[in-house]
């Protein structure tokens, strides 16, 4: 009797042990884990909306189906978030981030507080290249570039801080295309949206996608765009063509570089190659996923996959400029 009990117990233990080890062996790295997606912008803006969409659809392409949780770390054009990703977050694939595309400029201009090297991040990719567009309220008389140049009082443009892409676009247009504008910084694009409704600002330089609903509702009108185009705005004037100045053209082109990366997703440097491969592949599959596309359409977001490699190339273009151009660039784009 005792033997029988002992035997059956041993068998049970053996069964448990083998099944457990099998499970351990087969269990994917991400099973039962939570990935933190750090968003370097306040809730409610375009970066945030994209990130929430990605967070929802990416898990099904990661073996083990982890949960992705959003953490907003706004401030200084995502420098805070990028510093966090570079210095604090561990390169274990459990943290990655959606940062604003203007970051290469912060590094290029050696902004105090930049504690990262963008070239060393693990670039995962982007769901869309973004075109920057200058949009003006339709109830104002400014319809063409000439109108903007000849405005008697400065046109008030809302932007997301001196290091935001919306500010960069506006300041270069002001300096090289001769537009009579004045920029005001707001905490988030939600605040700017409200300011437009309140008629506190006359317009906004911004990505075409994030303020499309305002264009559709007839509140804003796109007037000038950057080189990266999108369906619907192909025919409006391009920034680089609005200046005869050679330096000006270069600076416009430099500024447009990160636009091609659009909404970049990066992970801490030194990610183990396998995890990096898992994440990049999952991101690519997620962006091409039918449900993802359907939901993006509902959210009025256009999708066009950009690989992490392409994003990194654009970053290198900005960071590998000769010193005199960098100096010129720094004159207008200050942090």
């Amino acid at each position: 009797m005792k033997k029988q009990i002992l035997c059956s117990m041993l068998i049970l233990i053996a069964m448990f042990a083998t099944s457990a080890s099998e499970e351990l062996m087969a269990a994917p790295y991400y099973e039962g884990k939570t990935i933190k997606l750090v968003v370097g912008s306040a809730p409610g803006g375009g970066y945030d909306r994209w990130a929430r969409l990605v967070a929802r659809h990416m898990p099904k392409y990661i073996p083990g189906k982890p949960t992705i949780v959003i953490q907003n770390i706004p401030g200084a054009t995502s420098i805070v978030a990028a510093n966090y990703l570079y210095n604090i977050a561990k390169p274990n694939g459990l943290t990655f981030g959606a940062v604003q595309r203007g970051l290469p400029f912060a590094q290029l201009l050696q902004k105090k507080g930049v504690k990262f090297d963008l070239r060393k991040f693990s670039w995962i990719g982007s769901p869309i290249p973004e075109s920057n567009v200058l949009m003006i309220r339709t109830d104002l008389p400014y319809k063409t570039v000439e109108d903007l140049r000849n405005a008697k009082t400065p046109i008030i443009l809302g932007d997301g801080g001196m290091a935001s892409s919306s500010y960069h676009f506006a300041i270069l247009l002001k300096e090289f295309a001769g537009i009579n504008a004045k920029m005001i910084h707001y905490r988030s694009s939600a605040d700017i949206a409200l300011a437009i409704e309140r008629k506190e600002v006359d317009g906004k330089a911004s990505t075409y996608g994030s303020f499309r609903s305002f264009i559709d509702r007839g509140i804003l009108r796109p007037v000038i765009r950057s080189r990266v185009s999108e369906p619907g705005i192909e025919n409006i004037p391009v920034d680089e063509e609005l200046t005869a100045d050679k330096t000006g053209k270069t600076l416009f082109a430099m500024r447009t570089g990160p636009d091609r990366a659009g909404r970049p997703y990066i992970a801490p440097p030194g990610l183990p190659p396998e995890i990096f491969k898992t994440l990049t592949k999952a991101f690519k599959d997620c962006v091409h996923d039918a449900d993802f596309l359907k939901e993006a359409e509902k959210l009025k977001l256009r999708v066009e996959y950009v690989s992490g490699e392409d994003c990194l190339n654009e970053v290198n273009v900005v960071l590998n400029q000769p010193e005199n151009i960098v100096k010129e660039f720094a004159k207008y784009i200050q942090f």
């Binding site: 949780v69 004045k182 939600a190 605040d191 309140r198 506190e200 609903s213």
Partner: protein, 504 residues
């Protein structure tokens, strides 16, 4: 309009949405009670669940959860003197002294009933104001918002102690609070302020660790030193009653409760002010309702009106807070941002359409707030007198439990050990402030309003130069602010004169 009002109700009462709302309420109940863990964070935590639901189910679930947090947050504030939510700090000021006097049941009854009144009034006001809400919100630009914040700051005069010394300490505490709010990377130039090389401080100090530290740690030290229960040596039997008394109090001071509700929903409608402001405006309004000097001095020592005011305004602001999200598609908080995502999935674009074409759905949101609060208050009333007996448990037994809760709550704000250090540091500050008679509410108010005041002032000056000072609405709000600032002194003089006249 009336059709939509009724249809909205029916939409909420359908089987499945109602069921999900109940689940939401159950979660919100505990989120409210646990300090630190707030409604916004919880909505984010619930994200994985809602994407399995249809939007008709998800909206009542999220909103039901979000809107009862304030109600049950009051319970923690009253019982332990620890803020259950960032928005229920003001309830502590009079609620906790009541608990110490053995009136926990009464305070809880008052807090819950006023919460219910607040929710109903807030929702009603929201329903009535739907036709005018867009122009109303658009009428206030950055300069006006700055003045509203100034108006909020003037409440420091009623939140401070009496006399010149009291006011001075209050102003100093408020100034300190503003300084604390400046910690971190600023918006305009990206400059690091008071970060001492710590990346943790780049994001600035967040409200939960600061407020929990300021209020909870002193309570714990106090309990430990005294070695008694929270309610001291009040006899056990007396505590079993009182909830009914608190409910009656709500109706005794019904108009005060309604006025504080109106303050709450008014503040709620303004996007960008944050949830923590309404409670203080309401508290100082309640404090101004004192009719004798004795009554005036009684505030902060356990006057039931000090519980009713913030209790009502907290819940009333929920209805108002929906407005910027629904009517403009501009979410006021991270929680509302996720709620907006649910809208979009339903094929609804938040914006003017929500007030015309999809009015029924908007009203169903209003009804969700009302019904969720009725349910949670009714459920709480069953065991409120039992909960009140927690205050008779010996402090030494309660402390480990409370400590665990507060550190868990504080840690949930950044999940960083810095949260715990901040809690401890502000705990020390809070202890010494209490020990030496410095008022803590002005510090909290300055802290909440400091950095947004800076933003709006900067934007106003850049946009309008000095001209914003001449805008009629700015001037009106300014005079209103002056009146609020001076009222406690005028009131005291008047009361003194009255009393002298009586003596003669």
């Amino acid at each position: 309009m009336l059709d939509a009002f009724v249809d909205g109700l029916l939409l909420v009462l359908q089987g499945k949405p109602f069921f999900y709302m109940l689940i939401g309420i159950a979660i919100g109940f505990w989120v409210g009670i646990l300090p630190g863990l707030g409604g916004g964070v919880t909505i984010a935590l619930m994200m994985p669940f809602i994407y399995k639901m249809t939007p008709q189910e998800a909206l009542p679930f999220l909103l039901g959860m979000h809107s009862v947090c304030q109600t049950t947050g009051d319970i923690t504030s009253v019982l332990f003197g620890i803020p259950g939510e960032g928005t229920t700090v003001a309830t502590i000021i009079d609620g906790y002294p009541m608990a110490q006097k053995g009136e926990a049941g009464r305070a809880l009854g008052a807090a819950l009933m006023s919460s219910l009144v607040g929710a109903v009034v807030g929702a009603l006001l929201l329903a009535l104001s739907i036709p005018v809400v867009r122009p109303l919100v658009l009428a206030l630009g950055s300069p006006e918002m700055f003045m509203v914040i100034i108006l909020g700051l003037t409440c420091i005069s009623s939140l401070s102690g009496r006399g010149k010394r009291g006011l001075l300490l209050g102003l100093l505490a408020g100034g300190c609070g503003m300084l604390f709010s400046l910690v971190g990377q600023d918006l305009q130039a990206g400059v690091l302020r008071f970060t001492f090389g710590q990346l943790y401080l780049w994001q600035g100090l967040s409200i939960p660790p600061v407020v929990i530290g300021l209020f909870a740690i002193p309570v714990i030290i106090d309990l430990m030193v005294k070695g008694t229960a929270i309610a001291g040596d009040v006899s056990y039997g007396k505590l079993g009653k009182g909830a009914m008394e608190g409910i009656l109090d709500t109706f005794r001071h019904f108009w005060l409760t309604v006025r504080c509700s109106l303050i709450g929903s008014g503040i709620g409608i303004l996007p960008g002010l944050g949830g923590g402001v309404a409670q203080w405006l309401a508290y100082s309004h309640a404090a101004q309702s004192a009719r004798t000097i004795e009554e005036q001095d009684g505030f902060g020592k356990g006057d039931v009106r000090g519980v009713l005011g913030p209790g009502a305004s907290n819940n009333a602001k929920e209805g108002g807070g929906l407005i910027p999200t629904v009517a403009f598609g501009i979410p006021g908080s991270s929680g509302m941002a996720i709620l907006m995502g649910a809208f979009l999935m339903l094929g609804l674009v938040p914006g003017p359409d929500m007030l015309t074409k999809h009015l029924t759905l908007t009203f169903s949101l209003v009804w969700t707030i009302v019904i969720a609060n009725i349910i949670v208050v009714a459920a709480s009333l069953f065991f409120i007198n039992k909960i009140a007996k927690l205050t008779t448990i010996r402090g030494n037994l309660l402390i480990p439990f409370i400590l665990l809760l507060i550190f868990l709550g504080a840690y949930s704000s950044h999940s960083h050990y810095g949260d715990l250090i901040v809690t401890l540091l502000f705990g020390g500050l809070g202890y010494f402030m209490e020990r030496f008679g410095w008022p803590r509410p002005p510090l909290v108010l300055g802290f909440i309003l400091g950095s947004i005041a800076e933003d709006y002032l900067y934007i106003s000056c850049l946009r309008y130069g000095a001209d914003w000072l001449y805008r009629p609405k700015v001037i009106i709000i300014f005079f209103f602010a002056v009146a609020v600032a001076l009222y406690p002194f005028i009131q005291r003089k008047r009361l003194m004169r009255k009393e002298q006249a009586n003596e003669i």
